[in-house]
Symmetry: C2
Subunit: 307 residues, 2 copies
């Protein structure tokens, strides 16, 4: 049975400056990163997003090479693709947004193609909560819904966001967003509050400190991969979510033990992503590379308790 995985989010061109280098107009956007990462686990991933007529053929080609179904990728003639520019600080943990040109995204009204509305798995990339709600309203048969969000929406669109939270299964956010959403500094308490807002499962990403998975009255603490050289953190959170939902879709198993493995696969994909600029780190991986790093990940926190 094909259950179907639908990804809705942004496709963008990013201009990124890190302490090491800079790049202009590189492929980016939450839906791009999520789809590429998920494509290593399941196919075809169905992508719904919008681009302008400046979205080059090489980018379409890249997505198609990953067996991503682009029927839901709307191309608007005479307009430009969403652009974002940011600059990372010395420690790569914080960044400033230099510019945001919404372009085609300004009037984005996500229309889910008829055949995709019955997808059982849905991941809502980080876009405005009102758009996430529009997507949710078109879906007929979802089984598991993952959602990402950000501080901007928590601060400015909280009512819509709270509506979204009531209708999803797993929220993926970072630690500062969890604190902002709940006004609670202790992450364990914050997780309980978010659980009461709706989602049965919650993942709090902590960057170089790994991630926490909450659900079924259990907690799983995943390590971060000990990378010596982080080149560009852009998209790491989306790639994490993409690897996660890709693995969940592949296995069709939402038990807590399997969600743990999904978190490690998500972290694995994110560790590849940050090693290169833009999507370069996840464009051409082999299943062997992914599996090998996944096993290294497991080794990192494994304790032989046969004392």
């Amino acid at each position: 049975m094909k259950l179907g995985l639908l990804v809705v989010g942004s496709v963008a061109f990013d201009s990124v400056e890190t302490p090491f280098d800079k790049i202009d107009n590189a492929l980016g956007g939450s839906a791009t990163y999520i789809s590429l990462a998920a494509s290593y686990f399941t196919a075809p991933v169905k992508l719904v997003a919008v681009v302008g007529d400046d979205f080059g053929k090489e980018n379409i080609k890249l997505l198609e090479t990953h067996n991503i179904d682009l029927e839901g990728l709307e191309l608007i003639e005479g307009e430009k693709t969403f652009r974002w520019g940011g600059k990372y600080h010395y420690d790569l943990n914080t960044r400033d947004t230099l510019f945001t040109d919404l372009n085609v995204f300004e009037n984005f009204d996500p229309v889910i193609p008829e055949k995709m509305r019955s997808s059982r798995f849905l991941i809502l990339g980080n876009i405005m909560p009102s758009l996430q709600l529009k997507v949710l309203n078109q879906m007929t048969d979802t089984k598991f819904i993952v959602c990402d969000t950000m501080n901007l929406w928590i601060e400015n669109n909280k009512d819509d966001l709270l509506e979204v939270l009531k209708r999803i299964d797993l929220l993926v956010i970072n630690d500062s967003e969890a604190r902002l959403l709940t006004d609670e500094p202790n992450l364990i308490k914050a997780a309980r509050i978010i659980n009461e807002m709706g989602p049965s499962y919650l993942i709090i990403k902590k960057g170089e400190h790994g991630a926490l998975l909450f659900g079924d009255d259990k907690i799983f603490s995943a390590p971060a991969f000990p990378l010596e050289d982080i080149f560009d953190p852009t998209g790491a959170g989306d790639v994490f979510a993409g690897g996660l939902i890709g693995y969940i879709h592949k296995t069709s198993d939402m038990n807590f033990d399997n969600l743990k493995r999904a978190v490690i696969y998500g972290s694995t994909m994110a560790s590849f992503c940050v090693e290169k600029f833009s999507t370069k780190g996840i464009e051409d991986l082999s299943n062997l590379e992914i599996k090998s790093r996944y096993l290294q990940f497991l080794e990192l926190s494994k304790v032989d308790d046969n004392e």
Copy 2:
């Protein structure tokens, strides 16, 4: 064969203010916390430190109840015990030192009692590196030496500290100290630099994010215990080190796999410590409580990789 565990450090009275409560002149000091924590794993722990004649009998009694050998605890008549006062910020991750009255500690010249000089296991609590060197110079037969330090000594006594590092086996510091010591923001690179300074093993404590163990070209990532209520973080680092060295001494096994378990036992003890003010959280634990939380710790990061 009794190998012997010697603890050298400070014994103090702490005045601590947290967002929840405050306490004056509570028992504290690195050697106190380390000895109490280690005492749950091995006995007798031998303590070398100095106090004034204001060090009450109830404190002596407490240490004796834990089978701590106090022959090396020097009591100086007419002088006062070392006092420290600090205030924690809202998130409990940072604190300000309000006062430091060195008192008897000002002229502390650690003399290791003859019978303790052949101890095979030594832990140097966080005291001035020149004092740590004096201790090292008196030891005749050490097999495994653990050392703690702090930003103050890294900034002001670095030459002495580098001498100490050449002569120890395991350094235990926190993440900001590791970055300060190496001038390297990436902890994986910082760990390599510290390894070249001398110690074969390194533990970097990351507070609410757990700890990293480095050695034998391996890395172990330990989670933090998901506590909802942290009452007083004072002494948590010392208690971590005490549980760690206590377990290592008990097992006399310095293999990486066993050091992992020692890290989890150290973390276990620290999690009890922060639940109450001062030493209260580790004064009266049962072996069952410790083992039970240790097993919960293991569960936190356990992944069943039988996909």
